[in-house]
């Protein structure tokens, strides 16, 4: 996945806010990248543009040779449905559906019947095989986030985006979610991109990208919680 000089501005005239300012970067297949930065640094915008949820003002987003910025709304939805998965800080499950039904939803939306046992397998993969018939309100936050992960997995996406997936979870639940993400990169060879605030969460990634004022301001490979925290402290000292 490649981003080429992607810019995104909001508003117009005097009130223009530049959220992304000519960002160029790549996410190699099978890598696990964490994106960090202070509030307002543009990390969520970066994620949304990369995932095709938002359209860049200029620049292009390439997923395996397809330019997402050139697609119509419906084609973009179809592409997202087939090749991209998401998890968010708020778990975004449909409250009226059971865990099982929530997981099967993307497949049913694309008019496919889930393969026998696929839904169960996806739930088992995130350790929730015994919670298939529970509704979101009957699950804990960590369990709901794992259902969301299972739902992202069911379509076998090439890229999985996480927007602070552990932000609403305690550290134990967060770790379970992160190890599932890690496994998706290592065992299935999927590209995982995650925005986070948490240095511990970031330390699960292969590399950490630091973002400030809509621009890339640093990169850290094989991060540890300590080195990430140090990088963040440096960034915040600069921006303040």
């Amino acid at each position: 996945m490649q981003l080429r000089s992607v810019s995104r501005t909001y508003g117009s005239g005097d009130t223009v806010v530049t959220a992304l300012d000519g960002v160029t970067l790549g996410f190699p297949t099978g890598s696990f990248t964490a994106v960090m930065g202070p509030s307002g640094s543009g990390k969520s915008t970066l994620l949304q543009c990369a995932a095709g949820l938002d359209r860049p003002t200029s620049g292009s987003v390439l997923l395996g040779g397809t330019d997402l910025t050139g697609l119509s709304g419906t084609r973009l939805t179809l592409l997202r449905r087939q090749r991209i998965g998401f998890v968010f800080q708020s778990f975004n499950l449909l409250p009226s559906l059971t865990a099982e039904q929530n997981v099967a939803l993307p497949l049913r939306l694309s008019g496919r019947r889930p393969a026998k046992g696929a839904v169960r397998d996806a739930l088992a993969r995130v350790g929730l095989a015994d919670r298939a018939r529970h509704r979101p309100s009957e699950l804990s936050g960590g369990q709901q986030q794992r259902v969301a992960l299972a739902r992202a997995l069911i379509t076998e996406p090439e890229v999985l985006f996480g927007d602070e997936p552990t932000g609403a979870l305690d550290s134990a639940a967060g770790r379970r979610v992160l190890s599932v993400l890690r496994g998706m990169a290592d065992e299935d060879g999927r590209t995982v991109v995650m925005v986070t605030h948490d240095p511990v969460a970031a330390s699960f990634a292969d590399r950490v990208l630091f973002l400030a004022d809509g621009r890339l301001s640093g990169e850290l490979r094989a991060p540890t919680a300590e080195s990430v925290a140090a990088g963040m402290a440096r960034l915040e000292a600069v921006s303040c």
Partner: protein
């Protein structure tokens, strides 16, 4: 608190729009009906018309007066009695006397020969009078001269001109040609034709009903009082002369009809508007649980939350009620105009200046709004502060205990009503009052208990679509079944409309079908001959009876009055016929006694009568007011009711034969007989029908007013359902931003989301329609059981077309109001992720 409420109203106006519209419309309708009712209660005493230029009018007895322990009871006489000949002669000695006769005249080939209803005939028909009485109504010649020979007439209006020959049938006689010799300007209350006095007396030989005397009123009154035969005769002067005007009875009946119609419609409006306002308010309060939680977190006490809800209702209620009063002010004259145009109200009917309808309607509106939010406010006050922090979840307690209790009580109540009516008096179930009120009780019960049924029904209905490949069926099913509150808010109004339509129309159709089956069973005739407005002359009856190979029974419609429980003077329809003819030509369901025993001292009654034992004596007043004590010789089965009694012609003096049943003797040829019968009645304009044709012609017996009333009721119910649906759907959809965004994130296209919204709307409407059909089924079953208990055959008639139309309308409204706001919302937002 009021300022908080006002600010909330400004920002969340969509949530209140439905309540506002429903309330304003309800108050508008109530104002309108109140104004019309006020005007009918104080109907202007219109000035005398027919005798406005007459000094003193002596009016034949037209009212039966019976003294009872609780006062004098009255009933109209049919036909009214003429002024006795002896009295006319006596009056002639004190002043100049002019007799007025009124009799039906129809253009040849006109109404009396066609299959038109009697009412239509009355309206298009002409009224004959002697020329001498023309001046009392103010008629003046505009051309030509008065009639001087038996074949000369003067007509009112411009439909004929002097010198023209017109073919007319007068007073049920044969068609003849008359020469128009003059014209007068038409007056609004009748279409007059004037004959010479002698010709009028020849055409309508019964003594005159009104006699104008040119003498002092006191002398006339004394003369009438001195005549022993003049019981009930009235002397009319001044404004009282309007009592002799032609459509007096019609006016009175028309106003009673208007009152009944508007009373029913007003009742339904109150019922439905309370329901809709309460449910839309409750829904908007329930939708804002999070907001109440936030207020509670910010330190508001439950009491304060409740006060905010009440303040909102007060603001919405008073502004909507004021709007409604203005609507009613402009609507009332239009309603009155429409009632006059449809011949429901008399021509002169108009809106008076009463102010109480405004206050009543305003107060009702405010009360409805406050009553509607009372329960919702209590529930809002009980929302715990933590609610603000919780995610929207599946509705768990849509069924409040109070609701369950009220619904259960009403269900038991309606069950009790139905069973007790069936046990005590099945005929009661077939009365209009019963079958319009009972469904409402059951409908209310069902609407209250709807949350219990919504979940299983939605799952059942969505089971098949959910098996399909796509996500829509599964999602729609789950969303509908879990969002019990939202689904109920949509399904309950649909339930009300469908159940009212099904029950009211289905019950009348079923009863009509049963009446037709009953009529078919009772008619032993091969042909039925019906007369136009004036009935058959004895000569015609004799000609029909002389047709070879047939047995005939001539019937004259009359009325028999009885005093029930010493207080109520009840008029029962009765037929006068000869006993021999009854026994040979009809197949009346006799349960006791013998029809052949009927004589001039006897009567055949049915089981509806308070006394119905053969051999008992019953005190009656005949149609002309004569008191008689008759012996019950036979008792007929009650059947669907109102099937009437039978007396001999001697006990129905003055009633003209209006129907002749003809049975073929064995071996007689049908075609020949039909032709002979047609020949026999041709000169008098009777209509020869086969038994089937006749039963079919009697079939649409639901009166026009009843039908207008039902359509009015249904229209109101449907209108309110549409308002409730639109309000609920718009509110519900705009509150589902999050759900829809999540769906989009899960990969749904805009089209898929909109299809889902549409499918959910259709599913919720279907749930309501199924519940409505269930209520209809119960109501129709009760009617069918009642008919079975009365041993009347006939099918249960379900008004599928009306049910389909109501459901379809609801579905269209619901889908539109779900999909359009959904589409706007999706366009605004795009697929961006949502945060809590």
């Amino acid at each position: 608190m009021l300022s908080v409420a006002l600010r909330t109203l400004r920002t969340r106006w969509t949530a209140f729009a439905a309540s506002f519209v429903a309330l304003a419309l309800g108050v508008g309708l109530i104002t309108m009906m109140g104004l019309v009712l006020a005007s009918s209660a104080h109907a202007p005493q219109h000035a005398p018309e027919r005798f406005r230029a007459a000094p003193v009018v002596v009016h034949g007895a037209d009212t039966l007066r019976v003294r009872t322990p609780s006062g004098v009871r009255t009933a109209p006489l049919s036909p009214p009695r003429p002024v006795p000949a002896g009295l006319v002669a006596r009056l002639g000695r004190i002043g100049a006397v002019t007799a007025d006769r009124s009799f039906a005249v129809s253009p040849a080939g006109g109404p009396s020969g066609t299959n038109g209803s009697a009412r239509a005939a009355d309206r298009t028909g002409l009224t004959g009078h002697p020329w001498a009485s023309a001046g009392f109504a103010g008629y003046r010649l505009t051309a030509g001269h008065p009639p001087a020979a038996p074949d000369q007439v003067v007509v009112a209006g411009a439909w004929a001109h002097p010198g023209q020959r017109v073919a007319l049938r007068a007073a049920g006689g044969t068609v003849r040609d008359w020469t128009v010799v003059g014209t007068v300007a038409a007056l609004p209350f009748e279409r007059a034709v004037f004959f010479t006095g002698a010709e009028a007396a020849r055409l309508s030989p019964a003594s005159p009903r009104d006699v104008v005397v040119d003498a002092p009123a006191a002398a006339v009154t004394a003369a009438v009082a001195a005549d022993p035969a003049a019981t009930g005769v009235r002397v009319l002067t001044g404004d009282d002369r309007r009592l002799a005007d032609p459509d007096r009875d019609g006016d009175h009946e028309a106003l009673v009809t208007v009152d009944a119609l508007l009373g029913t419609a007003g009742g339904v409006t109150c019922f439905v508007s309370v329901y809709v306002v309460a449910s839309t308010f409750a829904f908007s309060v329930a939708q804002r649980r999070r907001e109440w939680g936030l207020l509670r977190t910010a330190g508001a006490t439950p009491r304060q939350v409740r006060r905010i809800v009440h303040a909102e209702a007060l603001v919405v209620g008073s502004s909507a009620s004021a709007t409604g009063c203005v609507l009613g002010r402009y609507g009332a004259p239009r309603l009155a105009g429409a009632l006059v145009q449809r011949h429901v109200a008399p021509v002169w009917f108009g809106i008076g200046g009463a102010t109480w309808p405004y206050w009543t309607a305003f107060g009702t509106g405010l009360l409805v709004a406050l009553a509607g939010v009372w329960a919702a406010g209590r529930r809002a006050g009980r929302v715990p502060p933590a609610e603000a922090l919780r995610d929207a979840a599946v509705d768990s307690n849509a069924m409040a205990p109070g609701r369950l209790l009220a619904g259960g009580a009403l269900l038991l109540g309606s069950g009790y009503l139905a069973v007790s009516a069936l046990v005590a008096d099945p005929g009661e179930v077939l009365h209009r009052k019963t079958y319009t009120v009972q469904p409402m009780v059951l409908v209310t019960a069902a609407a209250l208990l709807a949350p219990l049924l919504v979940r299983p029904l939605a799952r059942l209905l969505a089971w098949l679509p959910a098996q399909l490949l796509g996500a829509t069926g599964m999602l729609a099913g789950e969303n509908t079944a879990t969002a019990v509150r939202r689904t109920t808010a949509v399904a309950a109004p649909v339930l009300v409309s469908v159940a009212l339509a099904g029950s009211l129309l289905g019950t009348t159709a079923t009863i009509n079908a049963a009446k037709a089956a009953e009529l078919r069973g009772r008619t032993g005739a091969d042909f039925v001959i019906t007369a136009g407005g004036a009935g058959f002359t004895p000569a015609t009856v004799a000609r029909v009876a002389a047709v070879p190979g047939t047995d005939t029974a001539a019937f004259a419609a009359t009325t028999v009055h009885t005093l029930e429980d010493q207080v109520a003077l009840t008029g029962s329809p009765a037929e006068a016929a000869s006993p021999a003819a009854l026994a040979t030509v009809t197949r009346l369901p006799v349960v006791a006694g013998r029809l052949g025993d009927l004589d001039d001292h006897g009567i055949v009654v049915n089981q509806e009568w308070a006394r119905h034992t053969v051999g008992q004596y019953v005190r009656v007043w005949l149609g002309d007011g004569t008191p008689r004590t008759l012996r019950i010789v036979a008792v007929l089965r009650q059947g669907t009711g109102d099937n009437g009694a039978y007396v001999t012609p001697a006990n129905a003096r003055g009633a003209a034969v209006d129907r002749i049943d003809v049975a073929l003797r064995p071996g007689a040829d049908r075609t020949t007989a039909a032709a002979s019968l047609r020949n026999a009645v041709a000169p008098s304009g009777g209509l020869v029908l086969t038994d089937r044709q006749w039963v079919a012609a009697q079939h649409p017996t639901t009166s026009r007013q009843t039908r207008i009333g039902f359509w009015l009721v249904l229209g109101i119910a449907l209108l309110y359902t549409a308002i409730a649906l639109a309000g609920t759907m718009v509110m519900a959809t705009s509150e589902r931003t999050r759900d829809l965004a999540v769906l989009r994130l899960a990969g749904a296209t805009v089209r898929q989301v909109l299809r889902l919204l549409g499918a959910e709307a259709v599913l919720a409407v279907t749930v309501g329609a199924v519940m409505g059909a269930m209520v209809t089924g119960v109501d129709l079953a009760v009617v069918r059981v009642a008919l079975a208990l009365l041993s009347v055959p006939g099918p249960v008639t379900v008004p599928w077309a009306a049910l389909g139309a109501v459901t379809g309308t609801c579905a269209v409204v619901a889908v539109t109001c779900a999909v359009v706001p959904g589409a706007l919302m999706l366009r605004r937002r795009g697929p961006a992720p949502v945060r809590a």
